[in-house]
């Protein structure tokens, strides 16, 4: 198993390198860098000398290859460079916001699992009945309604009926657990709803597949109580594919909370990413993209390991 993990970790390197090369060079191909945005934001005239001086200070005057190698060398010592906009280290900027996003993603995942498992199971067991259609409507809503719109409606209701406004800054869970909970629960529920729709549809189709299997018929024929058949024989197998989706969706949520963070005014990595894009802050965009990619490939590996652990039919190769 150690060999398998080592091999998988090695296989990540080309993918991550590809991500690094792609983002780095594509960002620099097109004219218009951070210096222009930074110095000319007020619409004022700036002398070409000042622009050049700033470019030199940020290292943008070197050739692309030199810039890239510098950046790569930094990455191997876990130094992602400084933000071209604020000047602070990229790693520190990300670290200070990571917890918010991580907490929201984790809570959303938990909420999604708690909604999706019953919904998916019920709609598969009562396939074609009113119950199934109700679940279908709920899941289609989750897939189609834009999460920022649902977020705004939730905020509207909270403001109107509970006179509650989301706090401006992040409340740490260790200082004020209840304050933290009330702050994070709404965005997590909005995201969790969309996530649960994806998951419930998957569980429904996977459970329907499993219920057609021979061993289910055998179990029923030999008189195993219906409840045991569903819980022990069917659901246990049907939930296997869900593990993959939960793991990968969680990884995507770290980068995909962009919109929700904007609506609920959470200062997470998504918001940082939007600012970086607006400011043409190359180093910050690169750092964040690399982080998203690393989380995604790691999640992929972890999902495969969990899968192999819970499903004895799967062996490491």
């Amino acid at each position: 198993m150690t060999g398998y993990i080592a091999r998988r970790l090695l296989m990540m390197i080309p993918t991550l390198l590809g991500v690094a090369i792609l983002t780095f060079f594509m960002l620099r191909v097109v004219p218009g860098d951070v210096v222009q945005v930074k110095l000319m934001a007020d619409g004022g005239m700036v002398s070409p000398e000042a622009i050049e001086a700033e470019r030199v200070r940020l290292g943008l005057d070197h050739s692309l290859t030199v810039q890239f190698l510098d950046w790569m060398r930094g990455i191997f010592t876990l130094d992602f460079g400084n933000s071209m906009w604020t000047g602070r280290p990229v790693a520190a900027e990300i670290a200070s916001r990571f917890l918010v996003t991580f907490q929201a993603a984790l809570m959303a995942t938990i909420i999604a699992v708690f909604i999706a498992v019953p919904l998916g199971t019920v709609s598969a067991l009562y396939r074609g009945t009113v119950l199934d259609y109700v679940v279908r409507v709920i899941t289609i809503g989750g897939l189609a309604l834009p999460s920022f719109w649902i977020g705004m409606l939730v905020l509207l209701c909270l403001l109107r009926y509970a006179h509650w406004l989301p706090p401006i800054s992040y409340i740490s869970p260790t200082e004020d657990p209840w304050g933290n909970f009330t702050q994070m629960i709404w965005p997590s529920m909005v995201v969790g709803y969309r996530f649960s729709a994806v998951l419930a549809r998957l569980i429904r189709s996977s459970l329907l597949d499993v219920l057609n299997e021979d061993y289910i018929r055998t179990a029923r024929a030999k008189g195993v109580p219906a409840r045991t058949v569903i819980w022990l024989h069917a659901l246990k197998n049907a939930l296997l594919p869900a593990v993959t989706v939960v793991g990968l969706e969680f990884a995507f949520l770290i980068g995909g909370l962009v919109v929700t963070e904007q609506v609920f005014n959470l200062n997470g990595v998504g918001k940082l990413f939007i600012q970086a894009v607006e400011h043409h802050d190359f180093t910050m965009i690169q750092g964040l993209v690399m982080m998203f990619a690393v989380i995604y490939v790691l999640a992929n590996l972890i999902v495969d390991l969990i899968y192999a652990a819970i499903d004895p039919r799967i062996r490491y190769r």
């Binding site: 594509m26 834009p146 919109v259």
Partner: protein, 298 residues
């Protein structure tokens, strides 16, 4: 020999109006969503003629007025008629949604089919590239493309935005089309065509492509919904369609957020428009899948 009358197909107890009628009969939900799609397309095409007001006209006499018979969906902070802006927004959503879904799905289909057909090194190279693109969350990839391309408006439509929405679609479609193409390729008639000495392009175009049209069409309708949603998201974030062009996502951002407590219609109606469009294309895509390829039915 038995009586030939028995071999005649049994008369079916259902109306026959050709393919369209059969679709409507088998997939009533799909037919209903198709009607919604047609209405939205017409609204987009005929926007300047059917909308009650000019979408850009500012009326300082009617700032933030609630929905009424004059302004069906109220007015925004500049006194612009929200209903007219929603109708014009359909044009933006349809142009960007259709073109970027078409671009992304076609690009993905070509990549996927090429990957499957040539196999070996070409396949490996394309699949590694697809892996790289798949490591980005959807919104992040779109935003990276926005950051790279900036804004390039042509006739009021931002070409960069179309690419920003199309590119994240490419890897996902290419995976599905590759799998479908591999199945087709294993068919004996492809071997037969090769044995007959047909050229690669002839095999691809005449023998493989027709069999990939069904998955392609199904993906296309599904991704139109995704593209509309992504356009709304990017516009909402201020990185998509720019003011004063009416776009649904854009209508939810900016001053809508400042006034939405006193003027909830600013938030409610554009959101309904987005949801309706996305639901319609999603359901139509599902119905099309069940109709064209019953094997895939859940």
């Amino acid at each position: 020999m038995t009586d030939t009358a028995n071999l005649q197909p049994r008369r079916l107890n259902r109306p026959t109006f050709g393919a369209l009628g059969r679709f409507a009969y088998q997939q009533p939900v799909g037919a209903a969503s198709f009607v919604v799609i047609v209405v939205m397309l017409l609204a987009g095409i005929l926007a300047p003629w059917v909308s009650p007001y000019d979408a850009l006209a500012v009326d300082y006499g009617a700032l933030l007025s609630p929905p009424s018979l004059d302004h069906l969906a109220g007015t925004d902070a500049f006194g612009r008629d929200v209903f007219s802006r929603i109708i014009h927004g359909a044009r933006t959503a349809m142009i960007i949604g259709l073109s970027s879904a078409f671009l992304g799905c076609t690009g993905g289909a070509i990549l996927g089919a090429a990957s499957a057909f040539f196999g070996g090194r070409v396949d490996a190279a394309i699949q590694r590239f697809v892996d790289i693109l798949l490591a980005f969350p959807l919104v992040v990839l779109a935003l990276v493309v926005v950051a790279i391309l900036g804004r390039n408006p042509v006739f009021g439509i931002d070409i960069s935005l179309i690419f920003a929405i199309a590119i994240p679609i490419v890897p996902q479609v290419s995976r599905v089309i590759r799998a479908a193409a591999l199945t087709v390729q294993a068919m004996p008639y492809i071997d037969a065509a090769r044995t007959a000495g047909y050229s690669n392009s002839r095999i691809i175009l005449r023998h493989m492509a027709p069999n990939l049209v069904t998955p392609y069409l199904i993906m296309l309708t599904a991704y139109i919904a995704q593209a509309i949603l992504l356009e709304a998201t990017l516009s909402f974030l201020g990185l998509g369609v720019a003011e004063p062009t009416p776009a649904w996502g854009l209508m939810l951002s900016g001053n809508a957020q400042d006034f939405f407590l006193t003027a909830p219609w600013l938030v409610i109606f554009p959101g309904i428009a987005i949801s309706l469009a996305v639901i319609a294309f999603n359901l139509f895509g599902d119905a099309l899948r069940d109709y064209l390829d019953p094997r895939l039915k859940q």
